[in-house]
């Protein structure tokens, strides 16, 4: 388990999108750390800003979005201060990213093997033949049974699970220091998802890689991550190690989320759910952004809450943290 040097430190990151109606504060001052060999999860529902956060780390925020503040330190160096050329040397080589839909990630008219080899050639200065050898061995690492055939295929010829594996192979091929996986299993059926989760656990054990997993599915996060940051409306509302969050959630949103999830292991008598919907990020509610949906909200919640450390390594952004578990 982690405990090493920080590989990635995100400090007070802010990414805004100007629109006709006003500014959408998609990511509004988030901070977290990924330590050497550690897997951190970023969990939240649609529109909470988790994917924008990941893209901000890669400096790939789509226009008109802009990173307006904060720091993204990769081993102490602020990526936001690098030139675009320097950043290209980071992407793919030092930080790799995989996406929910490999179909939009791969070039549809290029063989899988060529696409993976391209990155290897660029970042590691290997010859074409050496690069292809590496492609085959990496495809083997991600559990693809006939790597040569897959390397010779075009993206549409592969199934969803295979494409996801190929994309992970591409991410791994340059031995990145950090891997970011955005919804790695969301588009897949449950059996294929399980295969992939097991693969990711194996890879983590064998390669000792540091990774950041973005997902809406707490189940997936619970299987892969040591620590987790729960995001709501552009902010991290709770941040701790995964067991503590699952056993003793302190933020009312986390509590509500956990009470909403039906369980396959036993029959829950009743799910609670959270009434209402995610706030408008152009005019967010004053103070705590969860307060309009929160049953504990009072006058005090109209003021901005501060991130407080309830116990060591357990942070909550709330005026009235829930005590005694969910």
């Amino acid at each position: 388990m982690g405990g090493g040097e920080p590989v990635l430190e995100v400090r007070d990151l802010r990414t805004y999108f100007p629109t006709m109606r006003g500014t959408v504060k998609a990511v509004d001052g988030i901070s977290f750390t990924v330590l050497e060999g550690e897997t951190v999860g970023l969990v939240g529902e649609s529109g909470c800003g988790k994917s924008t956060a990941a893209l901000s780390i890669m400096r790939l925020v789509p226009a008109p979005g802009r990173i307006v503040g904060g720091e993204v330190l990769l081993r102490g160096r602020d990526l936001l201060k690098l030139s675009e050329a320097e950043m290209r040397g980071v992407r793919g080589a030092r930080i790799a990213m995989s996406f929910q839909d490999p179909m939009t990630f791969f070039n549809p008219v290029m063989r899988i093997g060529d696409q993976i080899a391209e990155g290897i050639i660029r970042h590691q200065r290997l010859s074409r033949r050496e690069a292809w050898e590496k492609v085959i061995s990496t495809l083997e690492v991600v559990g693809i049974p006939s790597p040569r055939d897959v390397a010779m295929s075009y993206p549409h010829q592969l199934s969803g699970g295979m494409r996801q594996r190929a994309m992970m192979a591409m991410a791994l091929s340059c031995h990145p220091e950090l891997m970011i996986a955005d919804e790695p299993t969301t588009a897949l059926d449950v059996i294929i998802q399980a295969q992939l989760l097991e693969l990711m656990k194996d890879l983590k054990r064998e390669l000792g890689m540091s990774s950041l997993i973005i997902s809406h599915d707490l189940g997936v996060i619970a299987e892969l991550c040591e620590r987790v940051a729960v995001m709501y409306a552009g902010k991290i509302v709770e941040y701790s190690d995964i067991r503590r969050i699952l056993r003793e959630p302190r933020h009312p949103y986390t509590v509500g989320l956990l009470e909403s999830i039906p369980r396959v292991g036993f029959k829950k008598e009743r799910l609670i759910g959270i009434e209402g919907s995610v706030p408008d990020l152009i005019e967010p509610p004053p103070g705590c952004r969860f307060s309009p949906r929160c049953k504990y909200a009072d006058e005090k919640c109209k003021e901005d809450p501060q991130l407080i450390e309830l116990e060591e390594g357990h942070y909550v952004l709330c005026h009235h943290p829930v005590m005694g578990g969910g």
Partner: protein
């Protein structure tokens, strides 16, 4: 997003006018399109006013005023028979708009029916209708129109009918492909589940969602119908009892060295009118396209 929850309920009419205002807001952002619309208003006003205020016969002959260059009393000059070209151009606008709108009305009606039926029912209906459409599409349109007008006479009615009946395939294809994708949408399935009839599905569910590209296309087609009419008249196949920009051009050919104004003004009128409809089509496309509209 959920910002709309506490707004008060609105009356139907008010919502409708809000929709219109929203449309205008995004349409007016496209300056050239607004200009196109202004030109169309001007043309329509000209066509109507010429008829009301100046029912004076444009076909009179004024031997003393033959081929005068543009001047204060004849801003566009006069033609070989001494007629005022400004007046003729104004009369011509009526012909052009009449032909343009009527022909496109016919073409759009046929196109919508054919496209809707083949897109919704598919199967044999689609096979037959689409073969017919393809046949019309591969025949060089203008020459067929030319042939038919030459055979059946070149009254205004014939010209309108021929252009209308020859130019619907584009609309049909457009609506068919829209219907093909709409037909598979869940809301259409949902309509079937609640027991909606075929007609109801076509008119209440599919058409309101698929009509906008057709409207845009029709606006462009008005321009091309006007151009076709001008072409026919230029070749001497227009209605001889009406003033037409095309025919004015045709006559101007003979005097092009001596009286440039005879060609220049009707030519400019055609150009500006066709361009206006293209600009309008472009603006409609931006304003009616829901993806662009939010911006």
């Amino acid at each position: 997003m959920g910002s709309s929850i506490e707004r008060l309920s609105l009356g139907r009419l008010e919502r409708y006018s809000r929709g219109l205002r929203g449309f205008w807001r995004s349409y007016s952002r496209n300056r050239p399109a607004v200009m196109g619309l202004a030109i169309l208003f001007l043309l329509t006003a000209t066509a109507v006013l010429t008829d009301l205020l100046d029912p004076y016969n444009p076909f009179g002959i004024y031997p003393s005023e033959v081929l005068l260059p543009p001047s204060f009393s004849h801003p566009f000059g006069t033609d070989d028979l001494g007629r005022d070209i400004l007046k003729l151009v104004m009369f011509g606008s009526k012909t052009s708009l009449l032909v343009g709108f009527s022909a496109v009305f016919i073409a759009s009606s046929i196109g919508i029916i054919v496209g809707a039926l083949s897109g919704y029912y598919g199967g044999r209906v689609e096979d037959i209708l689409m073969r017919l459409t393809d046949m019309l599409l591969i025949i060089p349109n203008f020459f067929l129109i030319l042939l038919i007008v030459a055979l059946f006479g070149s009254s205004l009615r014939n010209v309108v009918l021929v252009i209308g009946f020859m130019t619907w395939p584009g609309t049909a294809r457009l609506l068919r492909s829209t219907f093909l994708s709409l037909r598979e949408q869940e809301f259409v399935q949902a309509a079937r589940v609640v027991g909606a009839s075929h007609l109801r599905i076509i008119f209440r569910h599919l058409l309101p969602n698929g009509i906008y590209p057709v409207i845009v296309n029709s606006s462009l087609q008005v321009g091309s119908a006007i151009l076709t009419e001008a072409g026919l008249s230029f070749l001497g196949l227009g209605d001889p009892s009406l003033v037409s920009w095309g025919r004015m051009l045709s006559i101007a050919q003979m005097y092009v060295r001596r009286a440039w104004w005879m060609a220049a003004f009707p030519g400019a009128a055609i150009f500006i009118t066709v361009m206006a409809f293209n600009l309008i089509g472009d603006g409609l496309n931006d304003a009616l396209n829901p993806r662009l509209r939010e911006r």
